[in-house]
Structures are given as C-alpha cells and as structure tokens.
Amino acid sequence: MAGNGECVKLVIPCHPKYVAVVRLALTGVAARTDLTVDDIEDVKVAVSEACTNVIDHAFADEETGDKRPPIEIVFYPRDEEVLVEVTDEGSGFDPKRVVLADDVLGDKQGGLGLYLMQRLMDKVEVQSAPGSGTKIKMIKRASR
C-alpha cells in the first residue's frame, strides 16, 4: 500500500469540528477518480472513523485541544481507487489487542470504528505501537 503519485494533504486540529472538512475535501478529490457516489460515501465514513478515533483515543484527557498535535490526512487519488492515510502523533496502541466488534449490540461498544473501516474499504492497514503514534492506510477501489 504505497503512497506515491499525486496527493492532496490536509492537516486539521484534533477536534470534532474539523472532521466535516475532511469529508468535503475527500468529495472533491474522489470526484476526479472512477469512484461512484456510493463508493465515496463509504470512504467518508471510514475516514471520519479514523479521525474520530484520533480525537477520542490518541491523547490523554489532560491534553486539551490546543496542545494536541494536528491530524494529517493524505489522499492519493488514482484512476480506479483512492488511498487514504490518516496519521496522528498520539499514544498509539497495539493493533493485535484490539478486538473487532462482531457484536455491537452488547454493552461493549468498542471496536465499531475499526470494524466499519474494514467493512467499508477494500484494504485497511494499521501501523501503530504504544508510544509512537498511529497511521491508518485505507484503499477504496471503484465499484462497477
């Protein structure tokens, strides 16, 4: 999942206010690919989940909004797919220890974000380790 070729980079403050900006920018980037309107809706959700995770999990509560480093989102639009990378400089986590939600009905609501990403995108790669931030790489291919 190599990030090369033309790209659009977006850097937003670590705050829910700006996740909608990411969806808008994505809409513009993806309009230049073969992705369908429905494909783009899927990517919107997946990318928002990745950003919301950074906001919810990547930083200890003491760090207030202003002090948190920003979230970086890079879009690589290709003809038949779009690759999206969401990177934070937060706490990181052990991807192996995160159980995906197969049962979101119970009290445990954890895992819905990563689960949705995996269901909505064609490929999802999590690069993370405690103490060294997180990078999520996701690919969506144009459906036909």
């Binding site: 899927d42 049962d103 819905l112």
Partner: protein, 125 residues
C-alpha cells in the same frame, strides 16, 4: 434538528445535515431531555439526514437502551442508501427498527405500546 413530544407518549426527533462527532453532542442532549420526561417511545426521522457514522449509531443505541429500560421502544425512519448501509453492516438496523417510511416506523412503536405482538425485536427490560 427539531425535537417534539407528540401525544405525550411519543418523542419525535428530526435530523438534517450530518450526524457526526461534532453535531452528535446536540443530538445526545436532545434525546436525554426527551427521555427524562414521561416519553419512552422515540421516533428518529433521518429522511433529511445525509451522513451518519459510529458516533450516531452509538447515540441511537443509547437511546434504544434507555427507551427499553423505560418500557418503550425506538424506531428510525431512513431511506438513503448510504445511511442504510451503515445500519446494515453494523448490525444495528434491526435493533433500531430502521424503516423506510414514517408510517412504518410509527406502526412499530404503536404495536409495541399496545403490548401486542410487535414486529420490533428486543424486549423491554
């Protein structure tokens, strides 16, 4: 977002635009205010909503739990394919009684209220 209590037993919330981590804060409060009264039945109208993600699902699931604790039920009106897809793949469509039309959703709640054999899954605790 508009919210109103209809016929005492029924709370109706109508959402527009996008429901995400930002706008979700207001929606969560609205639901809490509605359910703090006598209302135990909640109809959430998403016909004019354009976007939902796990934050919105979480709030709706919270509303469902609360409604059932109070002996009520939740139903969601939603037709847009992209939203239906999020309900479907998350496995929440049944639990939240997602329906294509307002009348269908209302029927789910009315049936449950009359204690009859509702087509709504999940029992009140």
């Amino acid at each position: 977002m508009t919210a109103e209590v209809q016929d005492e037993w029924l709370g109706v919330v109508k959402l527009t635009g996008e429901l995400d981590a930002y706008s979700g804060a207001e929606f969560r409060e609205v639901i809490e205010t509605l359910m703090a009264g006598a209302t135990a039945f909640l109809l959430v109208d998403l016909m004019a909503l354009e976007y939902i993600d796990s934050v919105g699902l979480g709030i709706l699931m919270g509303g469902a739990k609360r409604a059932r604790q109070q002996g009520g039920e939740i139903a969601v009106v939603c037709e847009r394919a992209n939203l239906r897809r999020v309900f479907d793949i998350s496995g929440t469509a049944e639990l939240l009684n997602v329906r294509d039309s307002y009348d269908e959703a209302l029927a789910v709640l009315a049936a449950k209220r009359q204690g009859g054999t509702s087509d709504a899954p999940g029992e009140a605790e």
